[in-house]
């Protein structure tokens, strides 16, 4: 049974249909990528799954249960979360406070301190900066904080929206290595990324969106060999 299954998803903002009839699934332990050009509907898809964007059609089933009509604060308690585009850390709060908030969805918050210690182990820079306002961190450090904050609720499915966007190369390496390590720890990952080559090199499978519709899907190896990905980015559409 897939951990996440999205069936015939539509997302509409006013008169604009951002996503039309998109279906996809994520199996436990996979890294699945959603690829496509700007405005293809990738972020809208993730946001709709998480309850942040209006689902106007279709179903989202997580771990066998439909999450239809739930707000993000309820969906996150089911065990999936999103590291949003642009990091969206709380800039005036300290690093430590940002992490504390990440643990709110946990049923039992008594081991939140232990989880935080684990994050400091995994992201040593955050330990150094723990008492600093998060807004004073560099872009790469903020992205580490955003991911660590997401991990504080021990998600079974972690969705990430453009985690490497705008980062210095050494941070891009760090983020992709981290995703591989997380999969090793049993976290399933659904990833939206502009960096197609890197994403397909670590990913198991991928979906390609163009103009809000699903154009192509397959294993990461097949997608790398296909010309359809480039065609989707150029807006020609796959055949």
């Amino acid at each position: 049974m897939p951990l996440l299954s999205v069936e015939h998803l539509d997302v509409t903002y006013g008169a604009i249909r951002a996503v039309r009839d998109v279906s996809l699934s994520v199996e436990p332990g996979e890294i699945v990528a959603i690829l496509g050009a700007n405005g293809a509907g990738k972020s809208s898809t993730l946001n709709a799954i998480m309850g942040l964007a209006p689902k106007t059609g279709g179903r989202v089933v997580f771990d066998g249960d439909e999450v239809q009509g739930l707000g993000p604060e309820r969906i996150v308690r089911r065990g999936m979360t999103l590291t949003p585009e642009g990091r969206r850390i709380f800039p005036k709060l300290t690093v430590e406070e940002n992490l504390t908030l990440g643990a709110i969805p946990l049923r039992d918050r008594s081991h939140a301190a232990g989880l935080r210690a684990g994050m400091f182990e995994r992201f040593p820079i955050l330990r150094q900066r723990r008492a600093q306002a998060a807004g004073t961190l560099s872009g790469g450090e903020q992205q580490q904080l955003a991911i660590a904050r997401s991990l504080m609720c021990e998600p079974r499915l972690l969705m990430l929206d453009e985690p490497s966007l705008g980062l210095a190369p050494r941070f891009v390496d760090l983020i992709f290595d981290l995703l591989v390590a997380l999969r090793g720890d049993g976290v399933t990952i659904l990833l939206v990324e502009q960096n197609v080559d890197r994403t397909l090199s670590i990913g198991d499978r991928g979906y390609v969106l163009a103009s809000g519709e699903l154009r192509l899907s397959g294993s990461a190896d097949d997608l790398r060999r296909s010309t359809g990905v480039e065609r989707a980015y150029l807006g020609i559409g796959a055949d």
């Binding site: 707000g71 604060e73 709380f90 406070e97 504390t100 908030l101």
Partner: protein, 295 residues
């Protein structure tokens, strides 16, 4: 010198009340994007509760204080649940008119059910005495006011820094959407914001009514307008700004009252607001203002 020190205490006392009210407005605004114009009526309700327990039950002063604060808390929570939750997420104009309507409705209810005329609130005579401190004559009520204001600000700071719900509220005021993504419940954060604003308005109402000795349907009107000016002046959206704005406005008013010639006294408010406008021309976002994207 004597006079300066006494006016200084008066300014701290009046500014403290403005600060508490401005803080209440700012906290609700920071999580909901709404200015609650009915905030003053929470004060008025606390005042009427004081009138009832003092005139009917001859309650001791501590009980009167607790009743005032409790009334503020309950009134604010009821307002949120009954009037503001249905319009949450609506346009700013809709929320503004809702709070205006609530404010005027409550004032009319006070007029019709209680009285359009002031009701006297008798507090122990000890409160209105003056005590000599280092040769100065200091009013007990002014000192009490300042201590209560400091205590409220201290407790609120602890709450916002040390508790998970307090940290959640600060997060929600920075980015409400991502706060929900963290599992923070919108209903809870907004209810707590109103609860805090109600407690602060209850404390402010207690001090205001204790100093004026009476409560009437429009008791909350002037203070809430002053508090709004203070919050804008300090930098809307900034909680320290609201506190600073409240104290500075209190100082400006007291200083004008103390040193303006007799003939100019009716223009105290016009002059104090004029000074605020001048300062805002120099700092358009307020004293500690950062631009908020809700504003």
């Amino acid at each position: 010198m004597d006079l300066v020190a006494q006016q200084f205490i008066n300014a701290l006392s009046l500014g403290g009340i403005y600060a508490l009210l401005a803080l209440g407005l700012a906290i609700v605004f920071s999580v909901m994007g709404m200015v609650n114009w009915a905030h003053g009526e929470i004060m008025t309700l606390s005042g009427y509760a004081m009138w009832m327990v003092t005139s009917q039950l001859h309650a001791p002063i501590v009980v009167t204080f607790l009743v005032a604060v409790g009334t503020g808390l309950v009134a604010a929570l009821a307002m949120e649940r009954i009037a503001f939750r249905p319009v949450r997420g609506s346009s700013q104009v809709t929320m503004m008119f809702t709070s205006f309507a609530l404010s005027i409705t409550l004032q009319v209810i006070f007029q019709d059910l209680i009285s359009p005329r002031p009701r006297g609130v008798q507090l122990p005579a000890a409160l209105s005495q003056v005590i000599p401190v280092f040769g100065l004559r200091i009013g007990i009520i002014q000192v009490t006011a300042f201590i209560l204001v400091l205590l409220s600000l201290g407790l609120l700071t602890l709450f916002l820094r040390r508790t998970t719900i307090g940290i959640s509220m600060r997060a929600a005021s920075e980015d409400f959407v991502v706060a929900r993504l963290m599992g923070i419940r919108a209903d809870a954060v907004i209810a707590v914001a109103f609860a805090i604003s109600g407690i602060l308005a209850g404390v402010a109402g207690f001090l205001w009514v204790a100093q004026h000795g009476s409560v009437q349907p429009t008791t909350g009107l002037t203070p809430v307008i002053k508090a709004f000016i203070a919050a804008v002046f300090g930098g809307f959206g900034s909680l320290p700004g609201a506190v600073l704005g409240g104290f500075v406005l209190g100082f400006i008013e007291i200083m004008l009252q103390a040193w303006l010639p007799q003939a100019a006294l009716p223009y105290t408010d016009a002059l104090s607001v004029g000074i605020v406008i001048l300062i805002l021309l120099w700092r358009p976002n307020g004293l500690l203002g950062t631009v908020t994207d809700r504003a």
